[in-house]
Symmetry: C2
């Protein structure tokens, strides 16, 4: 079970390896949001998303013997790149199971970072968990799960430690912290960190329409699943259901989920380009979209949104820029 001590220990191991991303803001975005808006751009993290933190936390916590045998991960792309880069830096072989319909950029990057990529048919219903377990057993690899893994949650939680410190420096000690949410690793990690270091800040998951499993699970009090696992431009955060380890954390600490449309995600990407000069992918823009376009669901004078990743193909980014025309 991930604790604040584990998150602090992960932060110590990440120091000098993960980037401390700044907090960004723009008076133009404040005006749209109707309150002060601070954005934590984890798209600027190594490999273009916060996933590098969890990958590094997991790799750096392994026994040397197991690390030499190698690791395996399944991921639509950002966890893949995070684990691949962390494995390479630790001298560990990495096998990554990716859906064949993941953005080509993420597949190419994962290979270029030195990992062996195995593609599977997400739409046809192949189970990445089964494939992952098979590879792990036959090659004695250690499986690094994308979110239901205490060290990964601890690594992602370091985002929360930074938010607590940086928000306080900006004079913000209460309000909502919106986090793009797939399986809940980042959301849970940040919630644990804020519980200990900034108890006035409350985490709220942001999800795209049709993939609102976490919002529904929080509302019903039990793990609810999505009817589909693909079919949204927000590829980074399409997971079947909140995790068995993450859900109890979310349930205990998070406020209600906010559900955004694909069009709102594209508009948020366009505004992040225009006003913050950062590149955000659709799934990484969900929290920013929630802050900008769902202000009536948010309370308080200030809101913080995590822009979780920026691994987007030029064609999709151009689609977002068209929103400014």
């Amino acid at each position: 079970m991930t604790s604040i001590a584990m998150i602090e220990a992960a932060a110590a191991r990440l120091k000098g390896h993960a980037r401390k991303t700044p907090l960004l803001s723009s008076p133009f975005l404040d005006e749209i949001a109707g309150r002060r808006l601070l954005v934590k751009p984890e798209c600027l993290q190594h490999t273009g998303s916060f996933k590098f933190r969890g990958g590094w936390a997991a790799l750096s916590a392994m026994e040397e013997e197991a690390r030499k045998r190698g690791v395996i991960a399944y991921s639509s792309g950002n966890h893949a790149q995070g684990v691949a880069a962390a494995a390479k830096a630790h001298g560990a072989p990495a096998v990554i199971i990716m859906p064949a319909d993941a953005p080509q950029l993420k597949i190419d990057n994962t290979r270029a970072l030195g990992a062996e990529v195995v593609l599977y048919d997400r739409v046809g219903g192949e189970s990445r968990e089964e494939i992952g377990t098979h590879y792990a057993q036959t090659r004695s690899l250690t499986l690094i799960k994308p979110y239901d893994e205490p060290q990964v949650i601890a690594g992602q939680g370091t985002v929360g430690l930074e938010i607590a410190e940086q928000a306080a420096a900006e004079g913000v000690t209460s309000g909502d912290v919106l986090v793009c949410c797939g399986g809940g690793g980042l959301t849970g990690g940040v919630a644990l960190a804020l519980e200990a270091r900034a108890p006035g800040l409350r985490v709220r998951p942001a999800e795209p329409e049709g993939f609102d499993d976490v919002a529904r699970s929080l509302a019903s009090g039990q793990i609810e699943s999505n009817p589909a696992t693909s079919g949204s431009i927000c590829d980074a955060i399409l997971t079947p259901a909140p995790g068995e380890i993450t859900f109890p954390i979310l349930s205990r600490l998070c406020g209600p989920g906010i559900i955004i449309t694909e069009d709102e995600a594209l508009q948020a990407m366009a505004l992040a380009f225009l006003r913050l000069k950062i590149v955000v992918e659709p799934g990484g823009a969900a929290a920013l979209a929630a802050a900008l376009f769902h202000g009536d669901e948010i309370e308080g004078d200030a809101v913080i949104a995590v822009a979780t990743g920026g691994n987007v193909d030029p064609a999709m980014f151009s689609r977002a820029l068209d929103k400014l025309a």
Copy 2:
């Protein structure tokens, strides 16, 4: 005359107001550059460029009485926005003289930041200096020059203080620091800061083809002018000649200039999108383009490039993204 003490004093006044931008990197860019490449993304600064630093340094150094009367600046856009935002925060009225052919985004932003914008005909040969002097005299406004102004140079020099500290933390204490160069305010300020705080790092100006006044001035040892003052996509760094205050600094401290093509600027913007997840404008990409595509003119195992601004229209950014197709 700007000194390291003035730069340190400016840094103290900027603390908590200007952003400390991180140093970014990507193994994919290192491979293209042929050496380790660290990028200082000043596009992430308030108002989207380093110019906010100089604006704040100048405003914060003024007598309260003069500040209440107001300031005036002439600028193709980034200095305009930097001064407008700094003036607004200090409660000072601001008049900004801008060329009528400046990017619409920069004109709109400057107005939205509360400044009174006066447009002039750059192509037709109107002198912004004359217009600026006229307004300054009739309204008793204080002119904040874009580069030939000691406090502005001191403010821009704070970029150099951060580079010295951040590069040392990355283990880089020698090599070239490439800076996109217009009139030489940033280039000179960074050079002064590095002379004092990181003497192993040498500044080199980067300029676009046809507007290489600084490179030619450094080569000849005297101030040389450009034949034109418009006609490049690198609008942010099109100035007639190095300044009378900045040139002696550049001449004493800088290595030879590097001249890049417009196509290289667009390619650098595309790679910054793809690998660093930042939005850079053409003029702000000159130094990155020099690092990526002029490696044979650079010595050493590591190079640092300042990405000076990100105020680019969506249409121009799409032109850059087309380079990835």
